[in-house]
């Protein structure tokens, strides 16, 4: 790992991810839109809880899916198709440095997203009783969720033609939003669907963030373990199946 190359590549990856209008729509537009919309139009059942306590973990999860899975996956799929990855193969940039640069760029974006979502929530009146331990655990949950969704995004980007990957990533994004408990609570679904939705990384990410930020949700250790499991499985699948050209 050469720091000069890693730093230069991370700067490039970050600029490229932020440049794309569709990317900004899915990375910032979707989570902020959902936060504001469901606050102004209270159609979601809240079971007596503060609506923003339910919406913030969901919006954070959607944000991570948007950047780590959709934006990273689509841009990587096009880089594959346009032989950009192949071209890197005849430079001193190593694969580990390229993957590391992409990971760092996505993490920077996740930090920006988390700041934007929590900032918007605070502006809408969200006053959670945060603890330092809770915030640290939430950060770890975000990190693991980022790894898991990036793994899923790259597994899809690593095999399909770019347009196919684009369609598939958007489809998977929609499915995870609908079934992962962030738009429709799992409790409102038929049992079999809720059982399926409950194992998805989206549900674990939103649930763990809810526990760490608002003290309502699955046990933190179980949530973090499940997210770590998803991160490992998705990364291994992506690494095993990824085609560089």
């Amino acid at each position: 790992m050469n720091l000069r190359r890693l730093r230069a590549q991370t700067a490039l990856e970050l600029r490229l991810l932020l440049r794309n209008g569709e990317n900004l729509l899915v990375t910032l537009g979707a989570p902020l839109g959902m936060l504001v919309f469901f606050t102004l139009v209270p159609v979601l059942p809240t079971a007596g809880r503060e609506p923003l306590d339910i919406l913030v973990p969901g919006a954070l999860t959607v944000a991570v899916m948007g950047s780590a899975m959709v934006a990273l996956g689509i841009s990587t799929a096009f880089e594959r198709e346009h032989s950009v990855l192949r071209r890197y193969g005849v430079t001193p940039l190593r694969r580990g440095e390229l993957v590391g640069a992409k990971a760092l760029a996505v993490l920077v974006i996740v930090v920006v997203q988390a700041t934007a979502v929590t900032g918007a929530a605070a502006a809408l009146g969200w006053r959670p009783g945060l603890t330092p331990g809770g915030v640290a655990a939430a950060g770890l949950a975000l990190l693991l969720a980022t790894c898991a969704f990036a793994g899923i995004g790259l597994a899809i980007a690593g095999r399909l033609p770019a347009m196919g990957a684009l369609a598939m990533l958007n489809g998977v994004f929609l499915l995870l939003v609908l079934l992962g408990g962030v738009a429709v609570p799992l409790a409102e679904m038929p049992d079999w669907l809720a059982a399926f939705g409950g194992i998805l990384p989206t549900a674990w990410a939103a649930g763990t963030l809810s526990t760490t930020l608002t003290s309502t949700g699955p046990p933190v250790v179980a949530g973090l373990s499940a997210l770590a499991g998803w991160a490992v499985v998705a990364s291994v699948v992506a690494a095993r199946t990824f085609r560089w050209e």
Binding site: R4, R5, R7, A8, Q9, A11, L12, R15, L16, R19, N20, S75, F78, E79, H82, S83, V84, L85, R86, R87, Y88, G89, V90, T91, P92, L93, R94, E245
Partner: protein
């Protein structure tokens, strides 16, 4: 006492590469020394790109060996890529990035890079340096790809059709750059369809057809291999009859021209042969074959392919 030749920077020995049942390259051998330009000349699908990709370490040979700086470019990738500059035919230049961003980033990959902005100016890309690659013309993209290949000050340059899509001015700039690299001792392998390019730049020309090396020599030696008369006619000619009547070899030279293996003493005889048959003779001259003619003869292309 002759100075000993420096060790070759690129050694290809018996390279064979198949895709499925199709043989792209068959038993191809060549070397390129420091300060030498070798042009790979051949029609589409003749195996030029596959050869370049094997030398770049992007593809593994099915048979034979490739070495760059004395090592296997696939297995010892790290030892090669820092001193290697590659221009791939399909580009691989990120379309959402700008030339300036890409050159800055690529410069950081190498230990002793050229100044990116100076290279951008040198290649006439100053006006478009801050535009996304997606919005550039084909020739501009080619120049960006060339700049990316050269920014690391390579000792071996592999340029796959470097001037494809460039306008004449850009082509001349590129030629000047290649000549500079050569003077600086860089070993350069380039592929081209353009005879003029091969003739002007190359120290040696390797003509490939159907994946096989069919000639490898200095351009002047290749072109001078056949002297005689160049006969031009607007009508179809039966070369066998002409050859039989005159007792010399006749071969197609392309563009309605025919090569007659005879000395200038026979000009009168040739013209009267045409006159006797009422055939139009639009030109006759003592000719040294142009490289283009050699290429057409060797690769057996129909005229229109030129």
């Amino acid at each position: 006492m002759p100075t000993p030749e420096p060790p070759a920077s690129i050694v290809v020995d018996g390279l064979t590469k198949r895709y499925g049942g199709r043989t792209a390259v068959a038993d191809l051998s060549l070397t390129v020394h420091p300060g030498e330009v070798l042009a790979l000349l051949g029609p589409n699908g003749s195996g030029k790109t596959t050869t370049v990709e094997c030398i770049a370490g992007l593809r593994a040979p099915d048979m034979g060996t490739v070495s760059v700086f004395g090592v296997n470019p696939r297995r010892e990738r790290e030892q090669v890529v820092g001193r290697l500059g590659v221009m791939l035919q399909e580009g691989g230049t990120h379309r959402s990035a700008t030339p300036a961003e890409l050159l800055r980033t690529f410069a950081a990959y190498y230990d002793d890079p050229l100044e990116p902005l100076a290279l951008i100016e040198r290649l006439g890309l100053g006006q478009v340096a801050a535009q996304r690659v997606r919005t550039l013309s084909g020739g501009e993209r080619q120049r960006v790809a060339l700049a990316l290949a050269l920014v690391g000050q390579p000792r071996v340059a592999l340029l796959d059709e470097p001037t494809a899509g460039m306008d004449p001015a850009a082509r001349r700039q590129t030629w000047a750059l290649v000549q500079e690299l050569r003077t600086g001792g860089v070993a350069i392998l380039l592929t081209t369809h353009a005879m003029e390019e091969a003739e002007r730049l190359a120290d040696r020309v390797a003509v490939v057809d159907g994946g096989t090396l069919i000639a490898l020599d200095r351009p002047s030696a290749l072109a001078g291999a056949k002297t005689g008369l160049l006969v031009e006619t607007t009508t179809t000619l039966d070369p066998a009859t002409l050859a039989e009547d005159l007792g010399v070899a006749v071969s197609r030279a392309g563009d309605g021209r025919w090569h007659v293996a005879a000395s200038t003493d026979m000009i009168a005889e040739v013209s009267s042969w045409f006159a006797a048959r009422g055939l139009p003779l639009t030109g006759i001259a003592a000719a040294r074959e142009r490289l283009e003619d050699v290429y057409l003869r060797l690769t057996d292309s129909p005229d229109e392919a030129a």
